[in-house]
Symmetry: C2
Subunit: 343 residues, 2 copies
C-alpha cells in the first residue's frame, strides 16, 4: 500500500445522511515530522455521535469541515516514529479518523497491551462506549440494586454493556431493541429480564402498554440512547424520583421521527409531578473516571462475565455503508471497521 485512503465529509446531510455525503479519497501516506509518529489503522470505531459532527450546528464538539477526514476513534500500529514515547510496532488507540494512515503527536493517544484483551475492545467495551455505559449507570443515573431500568438500543455498544452491568448490580433490566433477533440475544446472552421489539409496536402507546405489562412496578431508571418512540413509551411509565440518563437520541439525529415526540408540556408535567431528574451527559466530561471504570469492568471482560459482540465490516471503503446502516439500527453490537490486518 503506497497511498492513504480516507473517508471525507463531502456535503452536510439534509436530514438523513446518505452515501453522497461521504467520499473516498486517496492521498500520499503522510510523513511524520519531529515529535510525531505514523500509524496504520487496524480498527475504526463507528459511533452514533459522528452523525452530529456532520452538521454545522452548535454542539459540544467542533463539526467536521467539508472536505476533512471524518473524525473517529481507532486502534492502530506505529509504523515509524520520531516521538520519544512511541516506538515502531506498538499498538495504540487514538482519534486517528476514518483513514488507513495517520500522523499523530501523541495527544489523546493511549498504548494498548494486546495480551490483556483483544485490541478492538479499546474501541468498545473497554473504551468510550464502555465508560459511557458505566458512568451513565453509576454516576449519572445513580442506579441502585432492586430498581427497574429500561435500556434503549439494548444490544448496542453502550446499551449492551449497560444491561449487563445493571443485571450484575441486581436490578430488574428491560431492554428496547429493533427486531426479534436482538431481543432474543438480549435475554438469552446478555441476561436482560425482558426485551421488547420497538419495531413490532405500531406506536408509542402500544409499546408503553407492553412496558406496563412486563414491568407493572414502573421504571426507576431510563438509560436513553434513542429518543423517538422509545422515549414516548417509557417516560409515562417512570416512577416517582426516577432518573433519565440522557446519552443519545439516535432516532432524531437526522431530523426524522419527529412526530413520535411527546408534547413538551406533557413531558414537563411528568418530570414535575413525578419529580424526575433528566441529566444529559457527554463522556468527554468524565474521562477522569477511566481508571475506576477499567478496574471494575476490565476483569469482568477478561473472565467472560461481560459478553462482547462486535459487528465488523471489512475495508475503509465500506465504512460509509456500515455507518448509515448503524444509524438505521442495522448493526448488531459494537460497530467496527477492520481497516487493516492484525499485527
Amino acid at each position: 500500500m503506497t497511498t492513504a485512503r480516507s473517508i471525507r465529509l463531502a456535503a452536510r446531510p439534509k436530514g438523513l445522511a446518505t452515501l453522497k455525503d461521504l467520499s473516498l479519497t486517496e492521498d500520499p501516506i503522510p510523513v511524520p515530522g519531529p515529535g510525531q509518529f505514523l500509524v496504520r489503522v487496524i480498527w475504526l470505531s463507528l459511533d452514533p455521535y459522528m452523525r452530529g459532527r456532520m452538521d454545522d450546528a452548535k454542539s459540544y464538539a467542533k463539526p467536521v469541515d467539508i472536505g476533512d477526514i471524518m473524525q473517529g476513534g481507532c486502534v492502530g500500529e506505529v509504523l515509524a516514529s520520531h516521538h520519544p514515547h512511541y516506538a515502531r510496532g506498538e499498538i495504540v488507540t487514538g482519534a486517528f479518523g476514518w483513514t488507513t494512515h495517520a500522523v499523530s503527536d501523541g495527544e489523546g493517544v493511549r498504548k494498548l497491551d494486546p495480551r490483556l484483551a483483544p485490541v478492538s475492545t479499546a474501541l468498545g467495551v473497554l473504551g468510550m462506549p464502555g465508560i459511557t455505559a458505566w458512568v451513565g449507570l453509576n454516576d449519572i443515573a445513580a442506579a441502585k440494586p432492586g430498581e427497574t431500568i429500561v435500556v434503549s438500543a439494548a444490544t448496542g455498544a453502550v446499551g449492551g454493556l449497560v444491561g449487563q452491568l445493571a443485571k450484575a448490580k441486581g436490578m430488574t433490566v428491560m431492554g428496547l431493541a429493533g427486531g426479534a433477533d436482538k431481543c432474543a440475544y438480549a435475554c438469552e446472552v446478555l441476561g436482560y429480564d425482558h426485551c421488547l421489539d420497538h419495531r413490532a409496536a405500531p406506536d408509542a402507546r402500544t409499546l408503553g402498554a407492553r412496558i406496563a405489562e412486563v414491568a407493572p412496578q414502573g421504571v426507576d431508571v431510563y438509560f436513553e440512547n434513542v429518543g423517538g418512540k422509545s422515549l414516548s413509551a417509557v417516560l409515562p411509565r417512570m416512577n416517582v424520583h426516577g432518573r433519565v440518563a440522557l446519552c443519545g437520541m439516535i432516532a432524531w439525529y437526522g431530523g426524522q421521527n419527529l412526530d413520535e415526540a411527546l408534547p413538551l408540556p406533557l413531558v414537563w408535567r411528568t418530570v414535575l409531578t413525578r419529580r424526575l431528574g433528566v441529566q444529559g451527559f457527554i463522556i468527554f466530561d468524565h474521562f477522569h473516571r477511566f481508571p475506576d471504570f477499567l478496574k471494575e469492568v476490565g476483569p469482568m471482560v477478561a473472565d467472560g462475565r461481560i459478553v462482547v459482540r462486535e459487528d465488523v465490516t471489512d475495508g475503509i471503503e465500506n465504512a460509509p455503508v456500515a455507518f448509515l446502516r448503524m444509524l438505521e439500527g442495522g448493526n448488531f453490537g459494537k460497530t467496527l471497521v477492520r481497516v487493516g490486518p492484525d499485527p
Copy 2:
C-alpha cells in the same frame, strides 16, 4: 357568624378554570369531636398548584372530588378544643381549605408565634412558597455564587424569594415577569439585576434575544415556574452544565399556550449537548429541611433583608376571582385571602 362558608369544586375545568367550576356554600359551623379542635380561618393561601387538584389526572396528590371543599393552606385561630395540645385562642397554620371554619385533629398543624412575624408570612415567605424557593435554589439547582440565574414569575410568592436569595448569594439575577410594573418592582425593590417583561415580547424568539443581550454570559440556573414562552426563551440560552429546577408550569396548567412549547427533540438535544440537568421537585418531599430553612431565612425576614409583598383579597366569597386572576398572572406578590379579622 353562625354558618361556615366554603368554596367547593363544582365542576372539573375543561382547559382554563372558570368561576362556574367553583361554588360558595353555607353549612352549619362544624363541631369538634374528641381529640379535635375548631378553627376560624384568618388567612387562606392561593397557590398555582391548586389548579392541578381540580383535574382528575394522576398527579402527586389526590384530586379534589366534585362537591368537596377546595384544599389550601390557612392560618387560623382556635375557637374551641378537645385536643390536648391546642388551646382556645392559639394561632395555627394548617391545610384547613377554602373555608371560614374547619375542624382538625392536629395533623399537619403547626402553632405560630405572632410576636416573631406577621402570621400571614406562614403562608408565604416563611411557609410553603418560601421553603420551595430555598430548597429549589440550594438543594435542587445547587446554585453557586458568581453564576447567572433566570427566575420566571419573578415577583411571585416563590420567584420573589428566589431572586432575593440568589442576589444575597452573590449571583447575577434575571427575572421574567408579566408587565412593566412587576419588572420595575423586581429591579428596584427585590434587587434583581435585570427583569424582562415577557408580555412585551411577541414570541419566545424575541424574548430569547433580549435575554442574550442582557446576559451574554449565558444562563447557569433556570428556576422554572412557568413553562410556555419563558421556557422556550431561556432553554436555548443555558450554559454547559446548567441546571433547571422545575417547580411549576403555570402557563400550561389549563392546557393553554401549548403552541409556545419548543419541540421535544430540540429540548432533548439541548439537554444532551449542553449536559443540562432538569430536576422536577415537589416541596412535600423536602419538609425535613424546614428547620434549616427557617434558621436561615427567618432572620432575613425579621431584619428586612427579605422584602415581602402580599396581594390581599378580602372575603372567602372572593377567593375564586382572586384565584383565577392569579392563574392569569394578575396577582402581584403572594396571593392571600383575608377570610376573617386578625385576633
